[in-house]
């Protein structure tokens, strides 16, 4: 009987079974950043342990970096202490650090793929829940806590319980103006924010086959928002083409041999899954959230659900959402005034996202009085965007063009909502307080929908604003 990619990668990385029945799993690639690693290095020091495989850990700085001032010391003393601590820990332990001066710094989930560190058939862990992004390459990638960061540093392994695997098929062609972001928001809406609990999600079907590598990353990124810690796509030619020539990908002379090994990790045609769910691409429209979790989502032309339209179990959270979002149930979301537009994050801060938006906004202007910022996911993305003239298009349209980092996705740097400002955001979480103000409001959507909101000053249908027709 055939095996899933998950089974094969799990088997190849199993070290042994632990006394409590969990698996000691080898984590081949470890990514770290400044927020969740300092305490882990502290624990190592306390236990008098060393980093076991320093060459398999890679670091960057993303959450706390200011995106306007780039000179150190940062005016935020705490942020400054955090970057210095990471720099020190990397130097002391011989860990590769994509520092601000490297030209390659950025959000950890954008830097890993961009550098070719993220590869098929591998296990990846990072002290960050959106590590599921890397599954787009056919790896199994886990978000972990700080104690596990310590475990991986000290032993290159962690203790895990094997999840089940759910295959999610999306078949057919997406309508114009519908993007990978809409696909994952739709999946979460349909399966629920905890529907993936205990599962790894394997995404497939003709829609995924046709997706670019970056589109696959957008979907895998938000697996955790649906409760699945791991999400992946089987590697194929699209994956291999993306990786060829990248700094940490196998060298040209060994690349074809690596591809042969990678192909063997893909799920077998006759494998069985613990569960299968099917979607049709043509059923998916541009999707926006109306509430305080990513599952509270509707198509742009739908009304915000009334309490009576919701299953009893969802009503408590819905009432909390109406109160926080200050939106009226039963009314359209389209036309809701926005205060801020944020384009960036590990979900949608890649070059393809910026290209897609730039080609539509050229010659147009952001609504006067509105704050609109573009935060490239990495210095690499930023450099390409500058070279292609995209940055100039954004600036001319009235967007602020910023340095690379997480920025307003979680507002650990100075980019924050103020009071109850409403933000049209290409990020992944609309939790209360997520964007830096406890009363701030977040509406998640695709990058082009963010641009449409930025131009009109209200939540809009990008297809109408930009004249996109089917």
């Amino acid at each position: 009987m055939g095996k899933t990619l998950f089974d094969k990668v799990w088997a190849a990385h199993t070290v042994r079974e632990l006394p409590n029945g969990m698996t000691q799993l080898l984590i081949g690639t470890h990514l770290i950043h400044e927020v969740t690693s300092p305490q882990a290095f502290g624990m190592l020091r306390d236990l008098n342990l060393k980093v076991l495989y320093p060459h398999r850990t890679f670091a960057t700085v993303d959450h706390i970096v200011p995106t306007d001032e780039r000179e150190e010391p940062f005016s935020d003393k705490l942020a400054d202490a955090m970057i210095k601590e990471l720099r020190k820990n990397c130097a002391e332990n011989d860990i590769k650090f994509f520092d601000l001066s490297s030209g390659h710094q950025g959000i950890v989930h954008i830097v890993g793929p961009e550098q070719g560190i993220t590869q098929p058939g591998t296990t990846i862990a990072c002290g960050d829940s959106h590590t599921s992004t890397h599954g787009a390459f056919g790896s199994i990638a886990f978000g972990i806590g700080t104690s596990q960061v310590r475990d991986v540093l000290a032993t290159q392994t962690m203790a895990l319980h094997k999840p089940k695997v759910r295959r999610i098929n999306v078949n057919g062609k997406l309508s114009p103006g519908v993007y990978a972001k809409d696909v994952i928001l739709h999946i979460i809406r349909m399966l629920g924010v905890n529907g993936g609990l205990g599962y790894a999600y394997e995404y497939g079907g003709s829609t995924f086959d046709a997706f670019t590598q970056e589109e696959r990353m957008t979907v895998c990124n938000m697996s955790i928002e649906g409760g699945a810690r791991v999400g992946y796509v089987n590697p194929d030619q699209t994956t291999f083409d993306y990786l060829r020539g990248r700094p940490y990908a196998p060298a040209q002379a060994h690349f074809d041999a690596a591809v042969d090994q990678w192909k063997a990790f893909a799920s077998d045609a006759d494998c069985t899954y613990d569960d299968i769910v099917n979607f049709q691409a043509s059923d998916i429209g541009p999707t926006v959230t109306w509430g305080i979790n990513p599952g509270q989502a509707i198509f742009i032309d739908e009304n915000i659900p009334a309490l009576a339209d919701l299953p009893a179990k969802d009503r408590g959270t819905a009432e909390e959402a109406y109160a926080h979002m200050k939106l009226r149930p039963g009314t359209p979301i389209k036309g809701t005034k926005i205060d801020v537009a944020f384009l960036g994050s590990c979900t949608n801060g890649r070059i393809s996202d910026l290209k897609e938006v730039a080609q539509h906004i050229q010659g147009k202007k952001v609504k006067p009085g509105l704050k609109a910022i573009v935060v490239p996911g990495s210095q690499g993305v930023s450099a390409i965007a500058e070279a292609m003239g995209l940055a100039e298009i954004f600036r001319e349209a009235g967007f602020e063009w910023r340095g690379a980092g997480c920025s307003m996705c979680l507002a650990m740097n100075p980019d924050k909502l103020i009071g109850d400002q409403l933000c049209a955001s290409s990020s992944n979480r609309n939790f209360k307080g997520r964007q830096g103000s406890p009363t701030g409001r977040t509406v998640l959507m695709s990058p082009l929908m963010v641009a449409a909101a930025a131009l009109t000053g209200e939540i809009s249908d990008a297809r109408e604003v930009f004249g996109i027709h089917g």
Binding site: G28, P38, G145
Partner: protein, 201 residues
């Protein structure tokens, strides 16, 4: 490294109602600007407990009746969102020693067990019944029996579920995996040697 064997826990409780209580709520990101976990306790649920001027709001955790509670009760999908261990660390440092909810997000669950803070799953109706008993007599002691999978208060007992691997880890003092993982180092090297990408270029 020898860890406490956690099979029984007792303490008073507090009920923070709601589903999908996410880690941004448990510990807002601005308090994660730190290089140690020390001092996180006072910021647990900060934006739920305090307003923009740092004045206390009406919240069960601010209610003097429930002061000193070491058992936290909540709803479905508790701890969803980020992988930040700052969330269970903040709860633990605030004084919580166990969390009871209808279900837990996976990463939060694992992080909590690693701290030796059990997370028990109870039926929603039972949680609300338990919450009512606590509301009537806030200082009554709740007894958690990890081995039996039970939560008791006065003469009432509720079934509580904890997955067997976590149960085993807590009861046998193996909830922090590091000692077990270190024991396997020879096997780790053997596994790594079989994988081409693990080799130094």
């Amino acid at each position: 490294m020898s860890l406490a064997k956690i099979s029984q826990l007792a303490g008073t409780g507090v009920y923070v109602a709601g589903d999908d209580v996410d880690t941004d709520r448990i510990i807002p990101a601005r308090f994660m600007k730190c290089v140690t976990f020390d001092g996180l306790g006072e910021f647990a649920f900060y934006d739920e407990r305090f307003d923009a001027n740092n004045q206390p709001k009406a919240h069960p955790m601010n209610d003097p009746q429930f002061a000193g509670a070491s058992i936290l009760l909540s709803g479905r999908n508790f701890g969803c969102g980020s992988s930040r261990e700052h969330a269970p660390q903040a709860l633990y440092r605030h004084g919580f020693r166990a969390v009871i909810a209808e279900s837990f997000a996976e990463i939060f669950f694992g992080n909590s067990i690693t701290l030796g803070m059990p997370c028990l799953v109870m039926d929603g109706r039972d949680i609300r019944a338990l919450a009512e008993l606590i509301a009537e007599a806030p200082q009554s002691e709740i007894n958690i029996d990890i081995t039996a999978g039970q939560v008791g208060i006065a003469d009432v007992t509720f079934p509580a579920m904890i997955p067997s691997h976590a149960q085993e880890a807590l009861i046998n003092g193996r909830w922090d995996a590091i000692a077990d993982l270190l024991e396997g180092l020879n096997a780790v090297h053997a596994t790594a040697d079989r994988l081409p990408y693990m080799q130094k270029a």
